[in-house]
Every structure is written in structure tokens, then in C-alpha cells.
Amino acid sequence: MTTPSASDGARPAAAGRAPSPAALGNAADGGAGQEPLLRLHQVGKNFGPVQALTDINLDIPAGQVTAIVGDNGAGKSTLIKTISGIWQADHGQIFWQGRQVHLHSPKDATNLGIATVYQDLALCDNLDIVQNMFLGRETLRHWQLDELSMELTAKSTLADLAVVSVRSIRQPVGSLSGGQRQSVAVAKAVMQDAKLVIMDEPTAALGVTQTRVVLDLIARLASRGIAVVVISHNLTDVMEVAERLAVLHLGRLAAIGPASQFDTQSVVELMTTGALSRTKDDAAKPPAADRGNGESQRRRDDALNTGEGL
């Protein structure tokens, strides 16, 4: 096990020292002594006998992009659905701004300021951008839809996010490109005063320029002080935009730390095996050992050592 090599360079955050990701993941990351926006403590979720999530300890600080990566079935979706209130955690506690909360429904999460942008985006193609952004929360004036104020608000929100290239916000969403649609979905979340925006595979269906647009948008969200959680398969995109990285493997947190502590190869290895082979630095401690994962980590390391071909 190794602390991911600091030699992947490029990222100044490592600042010469390579502290244990475990320590980073829990306290140092959100700034010294500052409560993270969202903290998961020992969170577990099972579906009958199937343990989908086990002992997840995760801090989501405000103003940063946290990427959650993992192979299919690693528990990424279960994790974000637990955070967004669709499923309830069976074990552990969830803290929001330091206060313990119980998320019984998506509405609870929305009320806290957690907005989830799902892969299918949930937009109505036949409605225009303004109508989509205000769907379900239209403003009224004399018992009629107040199109004017809605259009102004939508316009300023989009301008704040520097969403480019939308010629008119009165065009149907069906006429937009994939990146533009993603931007509208994000703007909708931002307009609802979201403090935490969870994005499920935001770049999955996009081309190169479109991906660029969305990654820029994600960075801008974080710079506005919004916590962003990105779920993705695409490591290139993740490595580019994420400041923190959490790797899930078989429902457990295999590693968490500043993105600068990982390189693509180590992430792939963590995603596929749940651990790093000891080739790089035998002396280092397993990065996944933050709070309670150590034992399972060791077990998997053993399995890995016996069964793995690398």
C-alpha cells in the first residue's frame, strides 16, 4: 500500500509533503477545524442480505469538488441515493453542517439544500429553458404565471454560471445540445439554492467540447462555495476537475484523499481491486484505513496477494 505518489506532479496541492490520505480525508481537508458541509459517519446500507454500503466515512466540504469513483456495482449509486434521500441509511449517521440529520425522503434532502442532477437530467424537452428551471416552483402574479420575473431570474442564474451559447432561454430544451442540457439541469439546482450539488455521470453522453463546458461549469460551482459531488466512470474528467477523490470498491471506501495524491493508474487499481499493490512503496500504510476500514482493507489485501496476478 502506498500513499499515492506525489510525483504525478502538476498538482501543487501536495506541496512537497504527502500526508496520509486518511488524515486528509477526515479533518485537514475542509480547512483546519472547519465542519464539513456533509459528513457521513460509518454509514451502511443493505438490501436484504446484500451489503451495498459498509462503514462509509466521508466528508464533503463546501466549495470543493469531490469525485466518487468506482466500478459498476461498487456502490456509487447507492451512496448518492442515500445522500439524496431516496434510500435511507441502515447504519451510521449523517451530519449536515455539524448537525445530525435523517433523510427520509428526497424532499428532506432538497430542503437541506442537496440537489441531485441525475444522468437522465429529468428535463421536459417540450418546455423551454425557463419553464424547465422553474418546473414545480413557478412564481405567480395575480394567480397567473409570472413569466417575466421567472425569465429574469433564470437569465441571471445562467449568466452567473456563465452558461454559454444559449441563444434564447425561451427555446425548448429539446433543441439544446447535451452540454447545454446538463447546464440547464445544473442551473436549475443552483437556482433552488442548493448548497450541495450531486452530479451523476455528468459527462457520460457528451462529446469533447461539451465535456469541456460541463467541467468548467463544475469548477465554477465549486468556486461559488457550493459543494459538488461528481460520480463518474471517466477518470480523465474526474482527475481534471476533482479536488478530492473517493474510491469505492464493493461497497467500501477503498481510498479517499486529495486528488493530487492519486494518479490514474492508482485509481484504476483501487477501483478494480480495492487496494494498491505494494510495488511502489511497501512501507506506507493503506490509504483506505480511515476509520474502521482497515480490517476489511487488510482482508482484501490478503485476497489480493493470493489471487491477484499483478
Binding site: 424532499k107 429529468a122 418546473l135 397567473q144 449568466a159 451559447s165 441563444r167 425561451r170 429539446g174
Partner: protein, 433 residues
Amino acid sequence: MSTDVHEPPPDAVAQADAAAAESARLAAPEVIADSLGEYAKIWLKRVRNGESGALPVTLGLIAIVIYFQVRNSLFLSAGNLVNLLVQGAPFILFGMAEVYVLLLGEIDLSIGYSGAIGATVTAWVAYSAPWWVAILAGLASTTVAGAVLGIIITRLSLPSFVVTLAGFLGFEGLLLQLIPHTGHGAGGTISIPSSIIDDLTSGTLTPAVGWIVMVAIVAVSGLSMFLRDRRRRASKLVTPPVSITLLKVGVMAAAGVVVVLVSNVNRGTVTTSLRGLPWVVLVVLGMLVLWTALLGRTRFGRYIYAIGGNAEAARRAGVNISLIRTLAFTLCGLTAGVAGIIYASRLGSSSTDVDGGQLVLFAVAAAVIGGTHLFGGRGKMIHAVLGGLVVAAIYNGLYLVGLSAPATDIVTALVLLAAVTVDSLARRGQSTG
């Protein structure tokens, strides 16, 4: 042309250009054009890309009118045109009822017979109560019928096609029972005892009142359009050019003038004089304005479009889908009641001979011919008006030309097919374009 939002990062400029071209193609011209020429250019582009809106039906209507006028010069006579308006009213109103459910991607097959039941209830109650009580009772009956169907469809998650097919059969049976049961329905026909209800279709405004009403309608709607534009301009939002708004008001005024002029020509016989705008035109206009406002300016209307476009998105946005769908079927029933009463008013009676199946098919045809999408999300009340006029023109014209009822049905079927084809081609052009 200014964009609404700014600051494209350099690497996104190319994409921005592409997207701008894209949106110019697909957005309605009034939302981006700021000059008349620009407007026309965008509109043409949209038409070429299959986003033609009400254009096919308008062209179709003109073609139909020319054809029948050539075949029989009586077609464009004042008497026949007014007759056509009156004939078309039930088709238009039934079509409006259908628009509510088509927008959700549903269908209601029962409205022909539920409308007939509404008319029968109205006629029956009119024997013992004032005309307006009778009309309210008739409308209440069809509204309840629509609500019951809507509740069954949403609560039990059943397909509307099957539930309203059951409604179709059930209401037909109910109608056959109801008319003899009223005690006024000798021979399966109950005549309408109220002259006011009869006058809904046979009564006319005096020529002067017709002019006043027309001017008032054009003035009010034109003023509201200008006021809306002014508010938008004051808020620095993209506003359609004044010339476009003037053009729209002009077209509206021209249509109004033509309708009133034609209606005010004496279409009576040598001995009797008959002139003036039929009341029923006002009924249709009133319903058009009311339902257009409901669909366009309220949350309820917005949610109907949202559910028709992406029900899951609407659900996640917190829209009570069951409630909205039930309400849509209820309003469909209410509108069918109006249509049924107008239909009976034209015949002077309600009878067991009514062909509820044909009425439903003409209603769906009217809505779809007018441009309403069969699978939800797209459509307007005005589509039912245009489509209903097409159906009525075919009906009326083929009769004038001397073709039989079967021929009328076949021609209507072909027009319906053509309309659906245009709609589907437009869609295909969109997805590949």
C-alpha cells in the same frame, strides 16, 4: 443578434456558434428575432425543417376552400360560410376537449356519448327549470363523467384508451336508457324546450353588436399583447419587434372583419331577412380564450405540458401527476358537455341516434389535423379550431358537391392521415436534423 447570456470561453466559441445556429432553427422566431426580416428568415428556416406549426393546416384549409369553390360556387356564399361556422362549432369544441387529454399523451373515446348525455340532461332539466340551470346541470353531468374516468385511470393506473372505451360503451347504453326515461323522449328523441338554448346556434347578434364585439375583442387582445411587450422591453428581455405584433393584431382584425362582414350579409330568403354573427361563434371564441389562458398562464396548464413532455421529470419536480391528469379528464368532460349542448342545439334535440363514435373520431381528427401531437406535450386550443374548421369544410363541401356520407368519411380519413404524416415527418426531420 445579442445572446441572452455572455462570456463564452474561447474554446467554446465554435460550439456556441453551432448552437446558435441550432437554436435559430428551432426556437420560435418571436423569442429571438428582433426585426421583421430576421423573423421571416427564422420562420422560413423552421418551416423548412419541419417545425411548421399551424402552417400545414392553414394551407390545407385554403386548398380545400379553393377546391370546393371551383366545384360549387355556393361554397363561398355568405349563407354557406356562416352555416359552416355553425356546423364546425361542435367539431371544434369536441376537439378542444380532446386537446386536454392528447396533451398528456392520453385519449378520451367517451366524449361523444358523454356530450350527448350532457345535452340530454340539459334538455330534460329545461322542461322544468330555467335555461341556465339546465345548461349547468348538463355540464355538471359530463364533468362528473370525465372526473370519474380520470379517477379510474389514475388511481388504478389503467390505460385511458381502455377505460374511456368502456366509458364509450357505458355512456351509449346510459343514453339509450336516459332518453325514454325523461318522459319527453318519445321515439328516442328529446327536443329542447328552451328557445334560448336553441338560439345558441340559430340566434344571431344584430349587425351593429357584431361589429362592436369584434372591435372590442381585437382591441383588448391587441392591447394586452402590446402591454406584455412593453413590460418585457422594460425588463430588457428579448421582445418581438413591434412590426410583428402589429402584423399579428392586423391578421386578427382582418379575420374579425371578414367574419363579421360575411355574417352581416343578408343570407335570408326573399321574404325573410337573416343576418348577423351567430352566438355560437362567441361561445367558441370564449372557450378558446378561456382554455388557452388556462393552458398558457397557470401552473395547471404548465404541468399538463410537463407531464406530456416527461412525466418523470414532472414527478421529480413535485408535480402531483394523478391530480393533474384527473383534472385534465374532468375539463375534457366539461368541454365535451359544451360541445354536446351546442350539437343538440343545432339539431334542436338530443336523440338516441347520435353517432358518438364518429363525433370522437372527428374530435381527435380536428385536434390532430390542427397540429396537436398525438403522443403528448405539444398542442394548443387554437389547433382544435383550425382542425375543426377543416373537418367542417370537408363535411360541408362534399355535401354541396353532392358526394355521399361514405365519401365524406373517406376524405376525412385521408386528411387525418395526411395530418398525422406531416406531424411525424416533422418529428423525424427534427431528430435527424
